[in-house]
């Protein structure tokens, strides 16, 4: 393990738990190709993948593990959902909080005749479910949004949005990239049609893992076709989940690590993971909020939110600040644009970017104090 002060958990969690590393290595040493044969190496692989489907379904409170399809990340899952669920002439609502993994697929389907409405936020980056509901029209087919902003940590009320979807018979596509493993996401309670997750952030799995949970009986366009280990002589991709969305050999080594990541979360307790990071976030916020040179984006009174804080120091380019923090203190942050172009436009930080600190339960109070001192020293010098 490399020693650094790691505040870039919104990009990927680090360090990975040793259980995740061990499970990945074990899979590399002991697993064959899943779903392709009957001998032990292959069956072990299939069993592992099935057990992780069950863990994912349980984590998101959905009773049908076969509806969990693995992808390489949430971007892929979001592409599958957005391009597979909406058609020409239909209307889709999204928000300014979105990552390019939502926006770019939406812009793509917009070119093909899908109408898009982007709901704006208030000056603190907040969006109410009512503001989203107000945009529903006769041809509205769905709402696509993030659970938690990757820039401000602001948390959308997905239970209310899900209720709105239910009342209006709309699809609800949810991006849980910043919340899975940290906040509770209930597929049933929130009436989610397609829940997209990544494995390498709050779920502590390896990069290259993720997936989509597609509600039963929701028709979706096949996004890729190929080998599945079943129905070899059919010219068509099998129409049952998960193989409908899973052509080709799965990344069992990554998925094994992802399963161990979920075990780690369950053992540690999602609440403990959330609260430990939240305490650090609040401490950091309290320490810097009154420094006049520092601008903090978003609002921090929300009780349940992501452990993310994006700042700038006066008009200093965010890259300078981030580079300084790493060169002088080995503090890892992210600077520049954060693949959330509309929120940068909203806060008028397209040029300056933002310095993002994203915490995890693995960080310490001492690390927070070092970061605060580093920012103060940057301003002093």
């Amino acid at each position: 393990m490399i020693w650094v002060i790691y505040f870039d958990n919104s990009a990927t969690s680090y360090p990975k738990p040793k259980e995740v590393i061990e499970a990945t290595v074990y899979a590399l040493e002991n697993y064959g190709s899943s779903g392709r044969s009957f001998y032990d190496l292959s069956l072990k692989s299939s069993r592992c993948i099935y057990s992780v489907r069950e863990k994912i379904a349980e984590l998101f409170h959905y009773g049908f593990p076969e509806q969990v399809a693995f992808t390489s990340n949430s971007t892929e899952a979001l592409n599958i959902a957005i391009k597979g669920l909406f058609h020409k002439g239909e209307h889709v609502i999204t928000t300014v909080l979105e990552h390019n993994s939502v926006l770019r697929p939406l812009y793509e389907i917009e070119k093909n005749g899908v109408e898009i409405t982007i709901v704006s936020a208030d000056s603190l980056g907040r969006i109410t479910p009512e503001a989203i509901e107000a945009e529903i029209k006769e041809n509205t087919k769905g709402i696509v949004c993030t659970h938690v902003s990757n820039l401000t940590g602001y948390c959308l009320d997905i239970e209310k949005i899900g209720k709105i979807c239910q009342e209006n018979n709309l699809y609800f596509v949810l991006d849980t990239s910043q919340s899975a493993g940290v906040l509770d996401v209930d597929m049933e309670k929130c009436n989610i049609t397609a829940l997209c997750f990544t494995g390498h952030k709050g779920l502590y799995g390896p990069q290259g893992t993720g997936g989509i949970i597609l509600r039963k009986d929701v028709p979706i366009k096949v996004w890729k076709s190929g080998g599945t280990g079943v129905q070899t002589f059919s010219k068509n991709q099998p129409d049952s989940m998960p193989v409908l969305l899973e052509a080709g050999t799965l990344n069992v080594h990554g998925i094994a690590g992802l399963g161990a990541g979920i075990d780690y979360i369950n053992k540690k307790g999602k609440d403990v993971i959330y609260h430990n990071a939240d305490i650090l976030l609040r401490k950091f916020y309290d320490e810097i909020k009154d420094i006049p040179e520092i601008t903090i984006y978003g609002e921090y009174s929300q009780k349940e939110r992501g452990a993310v804080i994006a700042i700038n120091i006066a008009d200093e380019p965010s890259g300078y600040v981030s580079d300084y923090l790493y060169q002088e203190y080995e503090i890892c942050t992210r600077s520049g644009g954060h693949c959330a172009p509309l929120l940068h436009q909203h806060f008028q930080t397209e040029k300056q970017g933002m310095v993002r600190f994203s915490f995890s339960h693995q960080n310490t109070m001492e690390e927070i104090e070092i970061a605060v001192e580093a920012l103060k020293r940057y301003i002093r010098e």
Binding site: P317, Y320, Y324, G336, C339, K351, G353, Y378, E381
Partner: protein, 81 residues
């Protein structure tokens, strides 16, 4: 605020080219490091290759180095970091 100094900064269209630059430059014993893409060059994100100091002569050296090693860069410029 922290004092700034002049640097020679090489930018690229993709991170892949930035990684290629770092590998080839360091293998050739040249000094430099990757930094966040300075926002006065371009908004958004990405990596740039940064060398201490700046002069037209130094710029010429790096242009020649990139050409010789077929490194596809976007721009070589002076930035105060």
């Amino acid at each position: 605020m922290r004092k700034r100094l002049p640097y020679l900064v090489i930018t690229f269209d993709t991170t892949t080219f930035a990684m290629q630059m770092e590998k080839i430059a360091l293998e050739a014993g040249k000094k430099g490091r990757l930094i966040p893409l300075p926002t006065q060059i371009s908004a958004g994100c990405g990596l740039a290759f940064c060398v201490n100091g700046y002069s037209e002569e130094l710029k010429g050296e790096w242009q020649e180095f990139c050409q010789k090693n077929i490194i596809k860069y976007r721009e070589i410029c002076e930035v105060w970091l």
